[in-house]
Subunit: 283 residues, 4 copies
C-alpha cells in the first residue's frame, strides 16, 4: 500500500495528465478481483480528482469486465479501458458486438485497447473506426507498435470530436504525437514521468530536434532496461526493479512471475547510473 | 438450470467415465466467478459421486484460479484442470513455477491442460514431464492436436504410475487410445457420448477395424458440425445447436458470442439426419 | 559424389520402395540449379529403375520449378514433388491455380507436398481434395504433423484410385499407416532404412504391438538425434553427422548452415551406442 | 519489354534517386533466372548511369544468389539487395554467417533487406548492427513496418559512415525520414514517383506540416489501391493495374498469380479519379 502511494505521488509530480491503473504494466489481468477492487479504491481516493483515473477492465469473461466497471465507477474512476477478451478470440464483427454490449452497460466511458502481444487479437483500423461510433466509446489506446495501422486510424477518425487516440509504446511516442495522437499511456512514465511529459510538450509543438533528443533518451531507457529479461513480463520486472532502486516501491511481482535476479539488478543499476537521466532531460 | 440437468443425465447415460465442467467447450473462461460457482455446485450435487467431476480453473489471474479451486473443493469436485494463464504468457520455466505454486495450494489434484489455440502458450513435452513430478499433479489433457509431441510425453511418462494422459481432440481419440493414452475428454461427447465410449472400448482392445469404423463416424461429426461457423467458438455453437435440436438444452452462448444463424441451423439439421448416427454406431 | 553413391546403396539395401531426392532433408531448396541437375542425373543413373525416383521441384519461381521438372524428366525421374512456393504466399485458390499450371506443363506426375514449417503455407484438406482431381497429380506428402487434417484428407480421398498419400513425419508413421496412408517419406530412412521398412510392414498388417515397439525406437531416434541443435536444419545436421559416423558420407552442410559442433557429435555418438539400434530392431 | 522501358522513364522523370529491380514489388523471387538476367541487363542499359541500380538477389539457395550477384555485376548494377533465404529459416547467428559468406563473394556492395511478411524471418536490430560491420555491406532496407525496431537500428548505427538506412513502407516514409533514415524504397513510387520525392524533400527539411500533407495523400493511395485484393501480392496487382490504366505497362502478373478482376479495376479507376493526385501534390 505504501509503495502504491509513493508511486502515485512520484508519477503525479512528473506532471502526467492522467493515470491508467490495472493495465498491462500494472499487471491488472494477473490480479484477483478482490485485489483489483482494493487498488482502484485506494488510487481514486488518493488522486482525488487531480487527474483522470482510467481503469483496466479486460477479462476473458464479459461478466467480470462489467463487474469491474461497476466497482470502478463506485470508486470514482473516470473511464474504463477494454482490450479484446483473451482465451476465446473474437473475429472483428464479434469484437464490435463485444464493445457494444460492454458499452451499453458500463457506467463510465470506455477506451478501446489494442495490445495483441497479450490478447493475441489484433484490432485493425476498420474495427477501431466502427467502434468509435458506439456511444460511450471515447478513445483508443494502441500498444500494437503498428504505425501503418495507426496512421489509418488517425486519418479515418480525424474529423471525429470526443474521440482520443493514445499511443501505448513509448518508443513511438514522439512520432505519434507529431502525427497527431492525443497523448501517450506509456509504462516508462512510472519510472521517469518527467521525460515523457517533456517529450509530449516538444512533440505537440512540432519541435522536431528537441523531440528527437528526448526520444533518444526514451530509446536508451527502452534498450537498457526492458531487454534485461526474456520473460513476457520482463519490462515490468525492470520497471519495478528500477522503482525499488529509487526507493519508491518494492519489486514484488504478481505470481507466478518472479522479480529480477540479483545479477540482473546489478546490470540495471549500472545502466541507470550511466544514463544519468536527470541531467540529460534538463538538456 | 434445467438444460444443465438434462445435459448431465444425457452424458452419463452415454456411459462416460467422468465429467469435465467449465472447460473450453463449457465456456468456463467466459463466465464470471458467481456463475462458475453455481455451475460447479449444481453439477457436483447432481452427479453425486456417480463419476468423478473435474473443474476448469484456468484464469489470467492465479489468485482467481486458487479461489476457484477452493470453491470446487467445497462443492465436492474431484480434480481441477489448469491451463497456462492467458494474457501474460509464461516461458516453460515460469509455467513450471506456476503449476508448482497452484498445486501447493489447490486442495484437490490437478490435471495440466494444453490448449494453445486458446491460451496461445504451447506446453511442450519436456514441461509436461517436469510438471508430472510435482505433488498433486495427476494428469495431462492434450488438446493441441500435436501427436508428435504427445508421443514424446507418452514415452517419457510411460513408467509413471498415477499420471493419466487424456486426449482432447476427438479426431485423434482412436489412435491416441491405441497408442496408450488413458482416455479422452472430448467436446463431442456432449452430443453423442455413446459414440466415444464405444470408440474408447474398441481402441483399448486394439480392435483396429472397429476403432476405425467409429473414428470415421467421429470424423463425419467433426466435419459436418464443427466447420459450420468460422468463429473461434464455432464448434461450441454447433454443439449447442445440436443439443437444442435434440431438446436437451438451449443454444444460448455466453456473450459476446451469438448462437448459430437460422440458415446454419438448417444445414446442421440436414447433416444430422444424413449421418443417422444411431444406426451407424450400432454397427 | 562418392558419399551420394554409398548413401543410395545404403538406403536401397534397407528395403525402401522409392527415393525422394532434393526434398527438405536433401536440402533441395538450398542448392543451385546446376547442383540440383547433377544430383538428379547421378541418382537416376545409379538407381537405374530399381525403385521409383521422386524429385523435389519446389521453388519461389514457377519458371524454375518447371525447368527442374523438365531436367528431372530427362534424367529419368518418375515423379516430381511440389510444395507451395515460398516468398509469395498463395491463398488456397491461388495454390490450386498453381498446381494446375505446373501439372499442365510438367512431363511427369506430381506429388503435392505440405510442409508449412518451411514454406509457411499450410495446405488444408479441402485444397488437397481439390488438387487431387487435377490430371497429373498422383499423390500427397504430408509433413505438417497435423493428424486431424490428414484424417480429413484420408476420408475425403478414400474412394480415389491412383492417388497416394504419404506421411512425412516418422513419429507419425505407425498410426498413419495403420489408418491407411500408402507409405512414408521420412528423413530417418536415410540413417536407418530397415527400421522404417519394418515399421511399414508391421503397421500395414495391423500388428499393433509390433508397430508400437518399432515406433518407440523411431521416437528414440527422433528425440536423441533431432533435438541436438536448435537450427531449423538441426535434424539435417544430425542426420548427416550420423551418416558420417557410419562412414557413409561427409557431414558437409549447404551454406550458410554449418555441421554439428564436435561437442554435439560426441553426444550423438554416445546416444547412438546407447540406442543399439541393430539389436533392437531385430526384436 | 516496352512496358519496362516506359516504366523506367516514368519513374526517372519522377525524380527518384535510384532504382531497385527484382525486389518484392518487382516480383523478383517469382521469376526464373533467365528472365531475371534479361531484366537486369535491360534496366542497366537503359538507365545508363543516370541513377544507381540495385538488384534483388534473394533466393532460397545461396548458390543462386551468388550467381545472380555476378550477373548483376556484369550488367553494370551498383548494389545487390539481400533478404534472408526463404524455406530454410536462419537463426540470427546463421543469418550473420550468411551475410558474411555472400558479402565475401559478391562483387558489388550489399544492402540487407528485412521483409518478414515474405521471408518469414525477422531481422532484429542487433543483427542489423552486427552485419553492418561486415565489409561490403553498405545499407539496410526495412520493410517490416516495425518502427520500434528501426529506432534501435538508427540509434545504434548513428555514428556509422557509409551505412545507409532505407525505409520500405511508404506509409512510414514521412516519420522515418524526419527521424533520420537516408531514404525510401517504396512500391508506390512506381505509380507516382513525384509524390514520394516531394515527401522526401519535405521530411528531410523537417517541414512537418507539408510532410503530413503529402503523407496523407500517400495514405490515401495505400488504402485506396492496396486493399482491393486479399492476395499476398494484392498490392502488386493494384500497382500494375494502375500502371496499365495510365498506359505505362501491362498488368500481367507472374504465375500463378492473376491480374485484378474487371470489377476490381473499375473500383480502382473510380478511386484514382477521386484522388486527383496531380492537383493534390501540387498543393
Amino acid at each position: 500500500v505504501k509503495g502504491l502511494e509513493s508511486l502515485i505521488e512520484h508519477i503525479l509530480q512528473g506532471g502526467v495528465h492522467g493515470l491508467f491503473v490495472l493495465g498491462t504494466t500494472g499487471e491488472g489481468p494477473g490480479l484477483g478481483h478482490a485485489t483489483k477492487d482494493k487498488v482502484v479504491r485506494r488510487v481514486c481516493e488518493q488522486v482525488n480528482g487531480r487527474v483522470p483515473v482510467l481503469v483496466g477492465i479486460t477479462n476473458s469473461s464479459m461478466e467480470e469486465s462489467l463487474l469491474m466497471s461497476e466497482r470502478s465507477t463506485k470508486a470514482g474512476a473516470d473511464a474504463a479501458v477494454l482490450a479484446p477478451p483473451p482465451y476465446f478470440s473474437t473475429l472483428p464483427s464479434e469484437l464490435v458486438d463485444y464493445v457494444e454490449m460492454v458499452a451499453a452497460r458500463c457506467p463510465i466511458p470506455i477506451f478501446l485497447y489494442n495490445i495483441p502481444g497479450n490478447t493475441k487479437v489484433t484490432i485493425g483500423w476498420s474495427t477501431v473506426v466502427t467502434t468509435s461510433e458506439i456511444p460511450g466509446v471515447i478513445g483508443y489506446k494502441d500498444s500494437s507498435g503498428d504505425m501503418v495501422d495507426l496512421h489509418k486510424v488517425l486519418q479515418k477518425t480525424a474529423n471525429r470530436e470526443n474521440f482520443s487516440i493514445m499511443i501505448g509504446r513509448e518508443e513511438l511516442l514522439g512520432e505519434a504525437l507529431i502525427w497527431g495522437v492525443d497523448g501517450g499511456v506509456v509504462g516508462g512514465a512510472n519510472i521517469f514521468p518527467r521525460l515523457y511529459t517533456a517529450l509530449f510538450e516538444a512533440a505537440r509543438q512540432h519541435k522536431v530536434k528537441e523531440t528527437q533528443r528526448l526520444h533518444n533518451i526514451a530509446m536508451d531507457v527502452s534498450r537498457s532496461f526492458y531487454e534485461l529479461d526474456s520473460s513476457s513480463v520482463g519490462y515490468i520486472k525492470s520497471t519495478k526493479a528500477y522503482l525499488a532502486l529509487m526507493g519508491i516501491c518494492k519489486d514484488y511481482m504478481t505470481p507466478p512471475f518472479k522479480r529480477l535476479e540479483p545479477a540482473q539488478k546489478t546490470i540495471l543499476e549500472k545502466r541507470f547510473r550511466e544514463l544519468d537521466l536527470d541531467s540529460s532531460i534538463g538538456g
